[in-house]
């Protein structure tokens, strides 16, 4: 790990797509550093480049130019296989649509990343999955199939799946997009709790309200960072939940 404790370090990052004869500059000259233990909300309207940024940060895509260091390791020119190993080892994904395997138990869904684990760590998939499900308070639903779980429960299984490899970064793409308000806040409470336990969290959202639960907000527009500041009046999801119960 490098000196300033950065998990993510992007410098002069550019991404361009050729759309027919047009060249789309999805990201132009982005510099961004996310340190360990941070909880960052990446904001922006659609077309702002936040999805592109998330794909690159998540090692799903490669930048056109610029540098990307993940835990001090340069990743912008790695092969598909190396990127796959990095995703497995360092990044836990949480998606808007949960993206669990159908007709599969919660336990098996959570074990899935460990099937692709190529590190030297000797992890017992079943035990690790059980621990991860305990962290999201779903260990009583282990044997339930995906279709037997509510939306909020499915998202918690997805979070457990992201946690099971003990990643450096939890990367959430519109994690509350498919959930009602109360369940959204429950998921955010879980993120805050995990963050307090030391997990670095980056979540992409277009809702200003959601970003209020992060410690820091980064806003993009037209492929440029236009705002990068700490959240001044950070909301506690746990407090919000208890006040909702009071009503």
């Amino acid at each position: 790990m490098n000196a300033n404790n950065a998990v993510i370090s992007l410098a002069n990052l550019r991404k361009t797509y050729a759309m027919g004869s047009n060249v789309v500059h999805a990201l132009q000259d982005v510099d961004l550093t996310i340190k360990a233990g941070e909880m960052v909300a990446i904001m922006g309207a659609s077309g702002s480049g936040k999805s592109t940024l998330m794909n690159i940060v998540g090692c799903l895509d490669r930048p056109t130019s610029g540098t990307y260091e993940l835990n001090g390791e340069r990743v912008e020119s790695l092969s598909r296989n190396q990127l796959a190993d990095l995703r497995n080892r360092h990044i836990g994904f949480v998606f808007q649509g949960f993206n669990l395997l159908a007709r599969t138990s919660a336990q098996e869904n959570v074990e899935l990343p460990l099937l692709y684990d190529r590190s030297e760590r000797q992890i017992d998939p079943a035990a690790a999955a059980r621990r991860a499900l305990q962290r999201v308070m779903l260990d009583d639903r282990r044997e339930h199939q995906t279709s037997e779980l509510s939306g909020g429960q499915q998202q918690r299984v997805a979070i457990a799946r992201a946690l099971v490899t003990e990643p450096s970064l939890l990367l959430a793409d519109e994690p509350t997009g498919n959930l009602d308000t109360r369940t959204s806040i429950e998921v955010l409470a879980l993120f805050q709790e995990l963050n307090e336990q030391g997990l670095t969290v980056a979540m992409v959202t277009h809702e200003n309200e959601i970003s209020q639960y992060a410690r820091r907000v980064v806003e993009l527009r037209d492929g440029l960072i236009i705002r990068d500041e700490p959240v001044s009046n950070r909301r506690s999801a746990r407090n919000d939940l208890s006040s909702m119960q009071a009503v």
Binding site: G58, N81, A84, D85, R89, F93, N99, R103, E108, L112
Partner: protein, 405 residues
Amino acid sequence: MKPEKMIRIALRSIARTKMRSMLTMLGIIIGVGAVICMVAIGQGAQSRIEQSILDLGVNMVVITPGASSSGGISRGAGSLNRLQIADAEKLARESMLLSTVTPVIMTGGRIRGGMGNWHAPLYGVDITFEEIRDWPVSSGQWFGQDDVRASRKVCLLGSTVAGELFPDQDPIGQEIILRDVPFDVIGVLEDKGQTAGGDDQDDCVVAPYTTVQKRLAGRQFIAQILGSAWSPDDVPAAMDEASAIMQESHGLADWEEADFTVRNQSDLADAATGTTEVMTMLLAAIAGISLLVGGIGIMNIMLVSVTERTREIGIRMAIGARPGDVLTQFLVESIVLSLLGGIIGVGLGYGGSWLVAYLTGWPTAIAPATVGVALGFSAAVGIFFGFWPARKAAGLDPITALRYE
């Protein structure tokens, strides 16, 4: 990734869509089942045909008198008959490759007895004739060694002769008079039917050769010597051996022209066996095509499956599956599907060929090699037809795959 991990992932995926997996396997199940069934029927038919040729006497070696030539002009087969009982006795004594030998004296004439009279050939033979020609009696009994030794006047009637002379009564115990010599009928031979040439084999009378020679033929020379090799494979060697013994018996040197001819029936056997081999291969080829169709069915379903599971592939890639892992997963899935189908198909093939044997009475034979080839082939089908869909899956871009609706 460890192989057991890969097989576990594949088995879980297959178990998740049981109905579809069953239907996918059905093509292979039917294909493998058909191959095994068809080959079993073909081989059964082959052994049945071989058996019926054996019944004709495929092991049989026939020695007939040779041709003589006088001043360079051949007089044709049989023109010089020097075959004798002694030759037959020498063959029986000295031959290692012939299990049995019998002389055949051919004569014939008018037969009186029972309802009227008839004209039929008479064969004077030894008791071994029954085994060589595979010709038991349908009623009564064959004459024995004593009858031959004592030149008893006993005879067996071919079924045609029995039918003509004794249409309404049991011929056994009756007397017939053949060219003024009375014979006691002690048995009726089983129906043999016609020869390939259309002669009625059942129109004959069979009696001990000793009796025939003494009472009727009165000649020193005999028409044929029949021998039976131990097995069809021994026939060529037995023929060579019989030739050598005959040469010696006739006092001929190796270089001297034989005054006899040694023949066999194996040409007929070869032709018939060849025909059934072709038939077996034809059946197997047709069944093989159904296996191919089954393979294409697997490819079809795997392609559909890759498209349908695009999102799953995206998820797997996002959480760290390498393209190679995805390729392996789909390949293992299709191999497991086709191999499982193959195993069930083997069971079906056994059941099917048992059913065919049960319903038609054909002997069916399943060679273990067939099972091995069918299983190997179904695994190969899985690899061959699974590779393209698997490659398609592995080539997917995780971002596009994740967004796929």
